[in-house]
């Protein structure tokens, strides 16, 4: 059968169950868009208003669905606009296929119009990428692209296609199974039984163990296994930022999040533990604090699908390179029922003495109080997509996640502007769930042009702008570490309600507590997208906090200024 390069690519998307793609056309990928014209019954193309949004949306789609997200951009500026989103997907191991147009083959290397060394730009921020010089290669490349993106430690890949390769007609007889000699992600997915036994021995020797649950729980769909293991071994569970919503936070063994803005009692527990069982996490500096003082008394069992993560940042006692799901199951089978009541009680006592998530009674609208109201009004059933900074941390802390895989955030890269386009991708992946985008006034203005997208496609995303008229985290750091010399922290904001209305979206504003409750309830009832401008206290800081360069043991609960303000 004769097929063009563009048709082979689109056939591949269909074959991999992709139904929504996010993209932006341009000269070099016009032939792909021309082919898309004939695939509209099978592929829903969402025209974003900036390529960065396409990458973020594909990322959100992938995380929420467990499938591969797809984004499309043209050569030159199209590709460079994708970079932030793809770099984020790379840091957070999100399976995304980026299809990019390239100048025709005869113009490659001539500095042609809209030419960029696209594979060169993407090389360090993709798991792998290809410049496809012949349409005959496309069946193999597309198959490899999906395979590599969505197996092993997942990640983004890029397929760069010169304009004339989209048009090239070749004989096509189906997609060959991927055969890549240097890539065998199936190897090592089952845990080595001797290492499982070794891990069990270490667990038996521990009186103060902690489970550190990370992003891997989501990717491995190891929720049931984690719950069963934690309960059988009676071990407290503490999550990383990406581990949020991997373990029910109302569970008696749940102690929330660790790290720079982790709960004081969680940080203390990690600091004083004699064993850390790290499941699908990578000991990022935001988790560990000062590395030399990280959990100095703890032995470490580390399970990860990526061998390079074992021993990268912390020395490991037992390292297991395997898929989490069978590994946790094997560990659960291996151990006897254990009892760590004194240790669990100790952490509960710390929590009682230092309730990190308590919110002060105030007249003024505190941002964390707003998050708590969103939690109550949605009965905790919303999917939360956050941006980066203060609102991100409050959303991680003060919304309590009992439902699996309901928290999405730009963690590793920390890209402002992520939340809004990502929430569009999340909604396409999980259309029957409520999606709340919790975002600061700064971050929202980085990608707000996709308001046009949610209007055009009536994407039901509730946009909650936690508006403190500041780059709040910048202000917080300048307050604490730069003697309150505020430089570029204050924002002169537009009227967000009018802005929403200009895009044809209902906009609601609240600046008192009673109005916040009213607005949230109203927003929840309105079908389709709503923007909420929730005006909050300008100076509230995120606590607890581990100052940069400090250890988890040095977590601070608050500051005197704060105390004085509300005394």
């Amino acid at each position: 059968m004769k097929r063009t390069g563009a048709e082979i690519i689109l056939d591949s998307l269909v074959a991999h169950g992709v139904h929504s793609v996010f993209g932006y056309p341009g000269g070099a990928c016009l032939p792909l868009y021309d082919a898309l014209y004939h695939y509209q019954d099978r592929l829903n193309h969402i025209l974003v208003r900036h390529e960065q949004g396409a990458a973020f949306a594909a990322d959100g789609y992938a995380r929420a669905s467990g499938d591969v997200g797809v984004c499309i951009a043209t050569s030159g500026p199209g590709v460079t606009n994708l970079v932030t989103g793809i770099a984020g997907a790379h840091m957070d191991s999100v399976p995304v296929v980026a299809l990019t147009g390239q100048v025709p083959r005869n113009l490659l290397g001539t500095d042609g119009f809209q030419e960029t060394d696209a594979t060169g730009v993407m090389l360090p921020i993709t798991k792998h990428n290809w410049l496809v010089m012949n349409a005959e290669e496309l069946p193999r490349v597309m198959e490899e692209a999906f395979h590599i993106a969505n197996t092993g430690r997942k990640g983004p890949v890029q397929v760069d296609v010169p304009k004339d390769v989209f048009l090239e007609e070749v004989e096509f007889d189906g997609f060959p199974p991927p055969r890549i000699p240097g890539y065998n992600p199936d190897e090592g997915t089952q845990p080595d039984p001797t290492q499982v036994r070794a891990a069990a021995e270490v667990i038996y020797g521990s009186e103060k163990p902690i489970i550190l649950a990370g992003h891997g729980i989501h990717y491995s769909d190891a929720y049931d296994e984690l719950l069963a293991f934690a309960e059988k071994a009676n071990i407290p569970v503490i999550t990383t930022l990406h581990g949020v919503s991997s373990f029910p936070e109302s569970h008696e063994l749940s102690f929330g999040m660790v790290g720079m803005h982790g709960n004081l009692y969680a940080n203390w527990a990690v600091d004083r533990a004699d064993l850390l069982i790290a499941l699908g996490m990578r000991f990022d500096d935001r988790v560990t604090g000062r590395l030399e003082d990280f959990a100095t008394n703890a032995r470490i069992i580390h399970v990860d699908i990526d061998p390079a993560e074992i021993g990268k940042n912390v020395a490991t006692d037992v390292g297991i390179v395997a898929d989490l799901k069978p590994t946790i199951r094997a560990l659960t089978d291996e151990i006897e029922r254990l009892d760590h009541t004194p240790w669990v009680k100790q952490i509960c006592q710390w929590r009682e003495d230092h309730p990190s998530l308590a919110i002060r009674e105030t007249e003024i609208v505190l941002p964390q109080w707003v998050i708590r109201q969103i939690y109550h009004i949605t009965n905790g059933e919303a999917i939360v997509v956050t941006d980066v900074g203060q609102a991100q941390m409050w959303a991680a802390q003060h919304f309590w996640y009992d439902r699996r895989n309901t928290f999405f955030s730009s963690g590793g890269l920390g890209a402002m502007g992520y939340a809004f386009p990502a929430s569009i991708g999340v909604k396409y992946a999980r259309p029957n769930e409520q999606v709340w985008c919790i975002i600061g006034d700064g971050g929202f203005q980085m990608t707000l042009q996709d308001l046009a997208v949610v209007r055009e496609h009536d994407v039901d995303v509730k946009i909650a702008i936690i508006n403190n008229n500041h780059l709040g985290m910048i202000r917080q750091w300048q307050t604490l570490f730069y003697e309150s010399r505020f430089m570029s922290a204050k924002l002169e904001n537009p009227d967000f309600v009018k802005l929403a209305e200009a895009y044809g979206i209902p906009g609601l504003r609240a600046s008192t507590k009673s109005d916040v409750v009213k607005v949230l309830k109203e927003a929840e009832k309105i079908p389709g997208p709503v923007l909420m401008d929730l005006v909050v206290d300008e100076v509230e800081k995120v606590y607890p906090m581990v100052p940069a360069g400090s250890s988890l043991a040095e977590t601070i609960e608050g500051d005197e200024v704060e105390e004085a303000r509300y005394a």
Binding site: L123, R153, V202
Partner: protein, 173 residues
């Protein structure tokens, strides 16, 4: 310490770029890198020498192993292996010094590959130490140009390099 790492890679355009990019991004230090076709069609073999401590070398190997086009990778530092490097040295050789230089070259089993008025090119093969010492010996005569290939290595005996085993150091229990 020096680690000698043998890497078999798919012979695709851009592979060298990926390897170099990884070293740059993670700030590993390449001492030398030699690459050419291997005995298997479509597979090139690289010998990379890095200055790294044990843990760092382990990371280098694991990170390289993650590259899709890396087919196999082995740190042969602790295995019995031979390694060779070749150097070409253009030495100032006026007639009156020529015999003296040739005698020294002979000690190092260096070949004369070019003789021109006033200079000769010597080719010498050996491990890094031998080349270093050869270079120092002829330096006083005046080295006009020097080029070295970087080290290539091969494990002794019938055994292929033992693939990298992902077991961490330290007691399990």
């Amino acid at each position: 310490m020096r680690h000698v790492i043998i890497v078999d890679v798919e012979d695709h355009p851009g592979v060298l770029n990926r390897i170099a990019s990884l070293f740059r991004k993670r700030a590993y230090n390449i001492e030398s890198l030699a690459v050419g076709h291997s005995h298997r069609p479509g597979i090139s073999r690289m010998t990379i020498v890095v200055a790294a401590d044990h843990n760092e070398a382990l990371q280098v190997v694991k990170q390289l192993d993650k590259l899709i086009e890396v087919v196999s990778i082995t740190d042969v530092t602790e295995q019995r292996h031979v390694s060779r490097e070749m150097a070409l040295a253009k030495v100032a050789a006026p007639e009156m010094k020529r015999t003296e230089i040739l005698q020294l070259a002979n000690v190092y089993r260096a070949q004369v590959v070019d003789v021109s008025p006033g200079s000769i090119i010597l080719e010498v093969t050996g491990d890094e130490d031998k080349i270093d010492s050869f270079v120092e010996i002829i330096r006083p005569y005046g080295i006009l140009e020097l080029t070295r290939t970087g080290e290539v290595a091969m494990v002794r005996g019938r055994a292929m390099p033992t693939p990298h085993v992902l077991v961490e150091e330290g007691p399990a229990a």
